[in-house]
Symmetry: C2
Subunit: 267 residues, 2 copies
């Protein structure tokens, strides 16, 4: 299955390029180099759809054969199983990892594109949660996601994997100050709704028909009061049983699909 | 803070009762003894609300003082930090763990209680997912949950923790054969809806007004075809973006809240 571009002996774990790529498991190196690792065929497939994103694809000979459809028209650097595993955060690596350029959009870009449904995450810390929220935002038809404040690095391997390709499907921006993101959304005519278990508006009685930005807070402590106060409404998902709350990603799913449903009913 | 019942030196990690309790981290021992561990104040609080559930509460002196409201009227066995940590599956143990009796209800019991909203999980394998589904079912006002087929042990410490107390809030049953659970629900007049990404009924066009049982499948492969075929309808959550699917717990949240909303609109 090897093309001229992939001929030769697979690189081993001690190879210089493999070693350099492996350093991207550290956030500081990712930030400094503006690079990250896309792990597995789903992520690599997504990355290949983003122009200029992929720098180099590493694959084992077995994965190159298995994913010939995906990798057949791309330059691939062959690596052995151990070298590949050293680049993967996964317990069972899928045999293909790409070094990719950061591709987040400026905040101004995502809000000026007239979004109908925007997601702003403030201080979401768990990589898996952030990934699930991005995947869910994609499924619900959101136009963009903003990771704001002290949120986890969008390029964390667990986040990338948690999005199951969705990181590459919709624009996302990184905003150090969540308040700036909220005000930017409002300035473009979006109604900002703070997801707040103690909110005074019931999700299913809220007006979700217009352009809407959802503001989600930290897994443990939710939204800081001064940030939630900037929103146009504080919206709670009704709790019918005895649970105290929902977790972040399930709450986001319920809010985003309620909005998608309202949007669909009005178009 | 110690009462006569809690006086004395805290037990250490080598104590016989601590060692016996620690064995409950193994599924085989849990199943044989029909016991499990409830870890942390939220779980212990829930367990104490279920009559006859709690066998023994272990707490550190610090936790006994911190959770005096919860533990003040209960016999507590004092243990030191290390002994407590040996009973906890958590990275940062909260200082209180209870040995509890299994309390799942018979399948017949949960279906004959005329549920309006029932959740049947078939082959849900990840403990965290199962916990989140139970928590979400509780929040959405479900009457009961059935863990069917090769689903994870409901008494797995990660599942118990993932429910954040909800395990103790609503009845749940364990059913070896998911088909038996589906037929039992149908026999009691529930409409069984299979959550199926390839389903031919759009969730938001489905009739959710009557008594409904949701059937959710495995995280990776969904529902086996022969099981989904038993359902009264195969229902898909519409995907508006480019994501291929939602994950199990977010999908369950969207389905269950859509049903809760329909039920509320008709009552």
């Amino acid at each position: 299955m090897s093309s001229p571009l992939t001929a030769g002996t697979p690189l081993t774990v001690g190879n210089g390029r493999v070693k350099e790529a492996r350093k991207l498991s550290r956030r500081s190196v990712r930030t400094e180099r503006r690079l990250f690792l896309a792990d597995g065929p789903k992520a690599v497939e997504g990355a290949l759809t983003v122009e200029g994103c992929v720098v180099e694809v590493f694959a084992t000979p077995a994965a190159l054969e298995q994913h010939a459809d995906l990798l057949g028209s791309t330059d691939v650097t062959l690596v052995d199983e151990r070298a590949l595993a050293s680049l993967s955060d996964s317990v069972s690596p899928a045999g293909v990892v790409a070094v990719c350029r950061h591709f987040d959009a400026p905040l101004e870009h995502v809000v000026t594109a007239s979004p109908r449904l925007l997601v702003i995450c403030a201080d979401v810390r768990d990589p898996g949660n952030a990934g699930t929220v991005i995947r869910t935002a994609d499924a619900a038809g959101a136009d963009a996601v903003v990771l704001a404040g002290q949120s986890v690095d969008a390029y964390n391997p667990k986040t990338v994997r948690g999005t199951v390709g969705s990181l590459f499907h919709l624009p996302f921006a990184i905003a150090p100050d969540p308040a700036v993101a909220v005000r930017a959304a409002q300035a473009r005519g979006l109604r900002v709704l703070a997801a707040d278990g103690a909110g005074d508006v019931d999700l299913f009685e809220a007006d979700l028909t217009g352009p809407t930005a959802w503001l989600f807070g930290n897994e443990a402590w939710g939204l800081p009061d001064d940030l939630a106060a900037l929103a146009d409404a504080r919206v709670a998902i009704p709790i019918h049983g005895r649970a105290e709350s929902l977790n972040l990603s399930t709450a986001a799913a319920v809010c985003l699909y309620a909005t998608a449903r309202a949007h669909r009913a009005t178009t």
